[in-house]
Symmetry: C2
Subunit: 199 residues, 2 copies
């Protein structure tokens, strides 16, 4: 495992995707690995951490997830702009050597029989919570996050450090077609005098 990859406490795992990045979804079943891009992934709960992701019926990755019940959500970087657009555009059904063509390098993490994409800034190992109605009616998948890691060069001490890291580490935020925005500058709101947990 790369020396920079550090575990993230599960109760802080939501922070890896809270700012709305486009993610890569990867899965493995019966010796087949695949990776796709998804702009429609979102945190759902803090503890245990859960998330949602929308997976089109035509996607090969969805089929692997339905069969294995597990997947990885990972946060690609500006350095991976081409890779992210490519895995979101090519299909394993049409291009059997898709991952090679898209320059995707996979690695493993002990205890998880899953393909992790090298070079990302964060990884969330997910266990599908089967919800057949959501999956069929809305293409909506719910999962529990059972492991989380980040590259300490851009996420450490429980928070992102985009402002101190090389700009190539910034997250990608898809708009449409090949168009993305990188995440920008940090902003901190002044504290409220009266606070409350509900709003």
């Amino acid at each position: 495992m790369d020396e920079h990859i550090s575990p993230v406490e599960l109760q802080k795992a939501y922070r890896l995707i809270n700012h709305g990045p486009t993610v890569l979804v990867s899965a493995r079943h019966a010796g087949v690995d695949n990776v796709m891009a998804a702009a429609w992934a979102c945190a759902l709960d803090f503890a245990p951490p859960k998330l949602t992701v929308v997976l089109d019926k035509s996607s090969k990755t969805r089929e692997l997830i339905e069969r294995s019940g597990a997947f990885v959500i990972q946060v690609p970087t500006v350095a991976q702009l081409q890779l992210t657009n490519a895995v979101g555009t090519l299909s394993l059904q049409d291009v059997p050597d898709k991952l090679e063509k898209c320059s995707v390098e996979l690695f493993g993490l002990e205890g998880h029989e899953l393909p992790f994409v090298a070079g990302c800034s964060a990884w969330l190992a997910c266990k599908l919570i089967p919800e057949p109605h959501n999956q069929q009616a809305y293409d909506l998948f719910i999962a529990e996050v059972v492991g989380a890691w980040a590259d300490a060069r851009v996420f450490r001490d429980g928070r992102w450090h985009f402002e101190d890291a090389d700009p190539a580490w910034r997250s990608l935020h898809h708009v449409a077609g090949g168009h993305f925005y990188a995440i920008g500058e940090p902003l901190t709101a002044q504290e409220q005098v009266v606070t409350s947990a509900s709003s």
Copy 2:
């Protein structure tokens, strides 16, 4: 209606939130209006456009939505950093004049009995699709987008123009506590030689 507020074609409404901004959720029932912040909102479908949003059981806005079956998702700007943090921190239950305290100004749009927050960059009028299991088990709400508008100074011709607009128009992306990132610079991926709709 403000001269800059322009309708957005429904089939392009997903683009208003595709880059993962933190949003404001507003609702009205029986003469009560409320506004809260939500980082966990996400596109769900293109046509008809649908979206998901996570609403905690303690939130007063959720109660209004459960009763009225409708709400607005709007995209706040860097200029609204304090407002966004404030409506996400104060509760109408504890602070009856919450909206005034948070400097929220509401306006109406013909044909929609909903409170729209002035100064945002985009607005999506939503009709709840009742899914009691998702709402109870996951605090997850699904809705159809029935109307969409944007401020033409930052979204026009079907796309965001953050790079040409005043930086105060940039979207907010919440991390945790009072910490946010603004959206950053545009990036365009090179076209793939082989393309496919599924991946």
